[in-house]
């Protein structure tokens, strides 16, 4: 019989590795990694970020645990030695109540208050705009985001201009002039801080929650209804569970922001000594108590990390819901019927309260001698344009006449501009390495390291940099007071946002356009110059503009790190507040608001995108 076996395939070569072939494999791997500089750039970025992010945090911890210069007698140990003195002083000493525990409880109260305020306001507005037929939805969708484009303490200044009472000196408030003596609880402290921060942060909830509402496919709810659920059951069992993750994300984001906010509690809390963690930190640094400041900063960092970790957990949970996004046909709007116009009135009231009233109040205050008195002889442009205002000793000019304003403006544009340029370019580089690196470990590490600053509230970061660079460290000279330090801190704090957008831009582009060029014979630089950068022009612009806009109104970081020699617009305005020159301070904030709003508007026109959806800083 001629039935034969199929010949056996050639035996695979033995898989035992000889040393020679292992060496070859290592060399091969190295050749592949070094065929282009992506890997080297990635490693450099990881090292630089690692140093700029981790070193300050280490400095905080070390400062908190070591006797600071000048404290040796109080701590009972020589400067530089390990000590629990600062922990004791912050947590257990007779002054720890005013140093830490009260600010902590105030921070918690304000945080929760702002969250409730922002969720009620932002949530209801989001529902009105995305799910009902309220008139003017398009206008409202844009208008209700405006408060977030104003510096957060705009509202605080406006509040003070309206409600200020005799407790603090300087120009009286509108109500006081009208003969209404406002109680302290209404003028200063928790209530105004909650309301003003709430007015600033509700757009956050409005955007995040609104996006989630828009994404829910109405067919999901409709299928529940067809299966016999009534309106409220459909809401409870289908819609709410889908919205919960985005809502909790917004809540935690707002909490994180409140934790690091400085301007508002400084302006509204100071007169009644209502301190929050951020202002307590600032006070400790100002009274030259770096050890105590380090402990408080460490607590803020811990709280920030906690908030972000909870948020990340929830976002991961949220991923489970992503697949059922459907076509997002949320067009079916609830018919408000006779409530349409009242609802419109309500939404407009929110807009007026959160944008028009504060801005108008500030504007009016800058052109009147006595606040709230609207007589022809009370109006003046002197606070804007006067050559000299002898009674204001600290700032004896109209704002527009002073060189200080232009110097501050130039400093702001220059420093913020540099920082955002660095941020945008570095963000895209991070995106490039993460998307392209042949080493998964490198891209994973880089992604995580560039996310780290997100965990640290800006004010704690600034404190850390202050501790780190107030003195020369190794080859790095003392950087305190230099613009370089400001640029670095601003760039680092915005890095998570810009690298996130850089990563998503590069991921969206995909590898293929670049690979096509590579196969066609283009080397690395050529590909970068001719393919990647031209395609990512828009993403790069956004990556520069977003940090620029938020950097312009940045205060918490700047207040810690600027010196008299490099005033910025924001610090100028806070200085004027400190002097008690209300009109000029308000005018300065109006200028910041106008600048930030104009840039946002131009940027939206230029990139034809809704920057508001990407606002992170």
């Amino acid at each position: 019989m001629a039935v034969i076996d199929r010949p056996a395939p050639p035996a695979p070569p033995p898989s035992t590795q000889t040393p020679a072939s292992r060496w070859g494999r290592i060399r091969y791997r190295a050749r592949v990694l070094l065929a282009e500089p992506t890997t080297l750039i990635g490693i450099a970025l990881v090292l630089i970020f690692g140093y700029l992010v981790i070193a300050p945090l280490v400095a905080i911890v070390s400062d908190a645990a070591r006797v600071q210069f000048g404290d040796d007698s109080r701590a009972g140990a020589p400067a530089g030695s390990l000590t629990g003195y600062y922990l004791w002083r912050v947590f257990r000493s007779p002054i720890s109540a005013s140093l830490f525990w009260e600010p902590l409880s105030h921070t918690v109260v304000v945080g929760l208050g702002v969250v409730v305020f922002a969720v009620v306001l932002g949530g209801s507005m989001a529902w009105l705009v995305t799910r009902t037929n309220v008139p003017g939805r398009k206008f409202l969708a844009g208008a209700l985001v405006v408060p977030y484009m104003l510096p957060s303490w705009t509202f605080a200044l406006a509040w003070l201009t309206l409600f200020k009472n005799g407790r603090s000196g300087g120009t009286p408030g509108f109500l006081e002039t009208w003969g209404v003596q406002t109680p302290d609880w209404l003028a200063y402290g928790a209530v105004p801080i909650i309301v003003t921060l709430g007015l600033h942060y509700y757009p956050f909830v409005f955007l995040l929650f609104g996006n989630a509402l828009r994404r829910i496919d109405s067919q999901l709810e409709e299928s529940a209804r067809v299966l016999g659920a009534n309106r409220s059951q459909g809401m409870r069992h289908v819609v709410l569970p889908l919205l919960l993750p985005s809502l909790s994300s917004a809540v935690l984001l707002v909490l994180g922001r409140v934790l690091g906010t400085f301007g508002t509690p400084y302006i509204l809390g100071l007169p009644t000594d209502y301190a929050m963690l951020s202002t307590s930190l600032y006070r400790s640094i100002h009274t030259r108590a770096p050890g105590v400041a380090a402990v408080i900063a460490a607590v803020i960092v811990l709280l920030g990390v906690l908030v972000v970790l909870i948020d990340m957990r929830l976002v991961r949970e949220q991923r489970r819901f992503v697949t059922i996004g459907g076509k997002g046909s949320m067009d079916r709007a609830a018919d408000l019927r006779r409530w349409r116009w009242p609802a419109y009135g309500l939404a407009m009231a929110v807009f007026v309260t959160s944008v028009v009233v504060p801005l108008m109040t500030l504007a009016l205050s800058t052109v009147t001698y006595a606040p709230g008195v609207f007589r022809a002889d009370n109006f003046t442009l002197k606070f804007w344009t006067a050559e000299s205002i002898p009674e204001a000793v600290g700032f004896p000019h109209g704002l527009l006449r002073s060189d200080d304003l232009y110097e501050a403006m130039w400093n702001s544009l220059r420093i913020v501009g540099m920082a955002s340029l660095v941020c945008g370019v570095v963000g895209l580089m991070v995106g490039y390495v993460v998307a392209r690196s042949p080493s998964r470990r490198l891209s994973g590490t880089l992604r995580q390291v560039s996310f780290l600053p997100y965990l640290v509230p800006g004010i704690a970061f600034a404190a850390a940099y202050l501790t780190l660079f107030a003195v020369p460290r190794g080859p790095i000279p003392a950087l305190y007071g230099t613009t370089l330090l400001l640029v670095v801190v601003m760039a680092i704090t915005h890095l998570p946002y810009s690298s996130r957008s850089g990563i998503s831009a590069m991921m969206q582009l995909g590898r293929e356009p670049e690979e096509a060029a590579q196969v066609a014979g283009a080397g690395w630089l050529t590909r970068l110059r001719r393919i990647v950068l031209p395609i990512q022009k828009g993403a790069l612009t956004t990556g520069v503009l977003l940090p620029f806009i938020s950097g312009l109104k940045e205060l918490s970081i700047v207040i810690m790190l600027t010196t008299a020699s490099t005033p910025l617009l924001t610090t100028l305005s806070i200085n004027l507040v400190d002097f008690g020159y209300r009109q000029q301070a308000n005018a300065a904030v109006l200028i910041i608001a106008a600048l930030s709003f104009t840039v946002t508007y131009l940027a939206q026109r230029a990139t034809r995108s809704n920057l508001a959806t990407g606002l992170g800083g």
Binding site: D5, W23, V32, A520
Partner: protein, 391 residues
């Protein structure tokens, strides 16, 4: 026009898991090789390794006399120095360049003089009938036009090796037919070595000179399209190539029809001891329906079956039947007159039967038997049907 050789190539992304395993493949000079297989079988990875966009974990890749990858020797030539042409599934046209600039790019990288560059780009665009869109941007083109630009971009540099990654999968049926002819024409004109990746067996059959069927990172069979179709090396290949797929019946299935009714019995009666645990197969187009036993030719395999549904497609009739509890398809280009529930006899000639062993590999003993029958020799009463020795 070199031949491409992959020698013992492994690719693994996670230690212990292989996207491609011990791949030995030679693509002959000037050939048109189709890498065919289901998604995730490693075919695209193989193509990208040839291009240099992915790197093997082990093994060598060589084009002609030029060694491009050698993990053992630590040698790697980056993609931009390989001088190949590649068409991506997504086309990967550069959105910020016009059609002309897209097509000219490769020539620019090769530092071709401007005049010559313009002329060659124009020729390539002419050849693919896209000259009129020269000034447009990719976003202003339809999918079919983008596909043509991607091809022109590759053709302009006249590469010796052309790589195509599922180039037709995003086109509608009519365009796909048109582009199939176009690509085949390009290959015939250029004499380049072409490697095309696809999961569409029809594409492989119609265009390629050689087909490699892959499954789970391993080559199942390499051969000409007709070899793969006529003598599939495994059950996997048999079911993957051909539409509708080959009917297969496990040997264990109930043999209610008596001796000779199952493929196993039929095979055993001719080549000795019945292989247990194998699979028999017959292509739908080789399977016939008889209404009376007398209509079945002598010596043919036969089995009773019940008609379940008739599915006319216009040019052909497909009948679904049930035979020994297994669903089977018969396809014929002549009208089949039958109704659901009719009891019929299925038959096929011995030459149309495919026999696979327990591992799913083709039983070479059966092919040997058929070959001897064809040459007229009578098989000796043999000891047994030996099975292939597996992978």
């Amino acid at each position: 026009m070199p031949n491409i050789e992959l020698i013992g190539v492994d690719k693994s992304y996670v230690a212990g898991q292989y996207a491609v395993r011990d791949l030995h493949l030679t693509i002959p000079d000037g050939g048109f090789m189709c890498l065919l297989g289901p998604s995730g079988c490693g075919k695209t990875t193989t193509l990208r390794m040839i291009a240099g966009l992915e790197q093997p974990t082990r093994g060598d890749i060589r084009v002609g006399s030029r060694l491009l990858d050698s993990v053992g020797k630590g040698l790697f030539v980056p993609p931009e120095k390989r001088g190949m042409g590649l068409v991506f599934q997504s086309y990967a046209l550069w959105p910020h360049m016009t059609v002309t600039r897209n097509v000219e790019f490769g020539l620019m990288m090769r530092k071709t003089p401007t005049a010559q560059r313009a002329q060659r780009a124009a020729e390539a665009m002419e050849m693919l009938h896209i000259a009129e869109y020269a000034a447009r941007y990719p976003s202003q083109l339809s999918g079919g036009q983008q596909q043509r630009v991607a091809l022109a971009r590759m053709l302009a540099v006249d590469p010796e090796v052309m790589l195509l990654d599922e180039p037709l999968s995003n086109l509608d049926a009519r365009l796909r037919l048109e582009m199939r002819a176009e690509i085949k024409r390009i290959h015939q004109r250029s004499h380049a070595t072409v490697v095309l990746v696809t999961h569409d067996q029809l594409e492989a059959m119609t265009m390629a000179t050689h087909v490699t069927v892959m499954n789970e990172g391993v080559v199942e069979q390499t051969g000409t399209p007709m070899e793969v179709y006529e003598r599939p090396a495994s059950v996997f290949v048999a079911q993957f190539v051909g539409s509708p797929p080959m009917n297969t019946m496990p040997f264990g299935s109930a043999d209610v029809g008596g001796p000779g009714a199952t493929v196993a019995d039929y095979v055993a009666a001719r080549v000795g001891r019945p292989p247990t645990d194998g699979t028999g197969g017959v292509r739908p187009e080789a399977l016939n329906i008889a209404y009376a036993d007398a209509d079945v030719p002598d010596g043919a395999w036969r089995a009773p079956a019940v008609v379940e549904t008739v599915l006319p497609t216009g040019s052909a009739w497909t009948v679904q039947l049930r035979c020994h509890g297994e669903p089977l398809y018969v396809q014929s280009y002549r009208k089949i007159e039958t109704t659901p529930g009719a009891e019929v006899t299925l038959w096929a000639t011995a030459a149309d039967l495919h026999v696979f062993d327990a591992d799913g590999r083709r039983l070479t003993g059966w092919d040997q038997f058929l070959r001897e029958q064809r040459t007229g020799r009578q098989p000796a009463a043999g000891p047994a049907v030996a099975s292939g020795s597996g992978r």
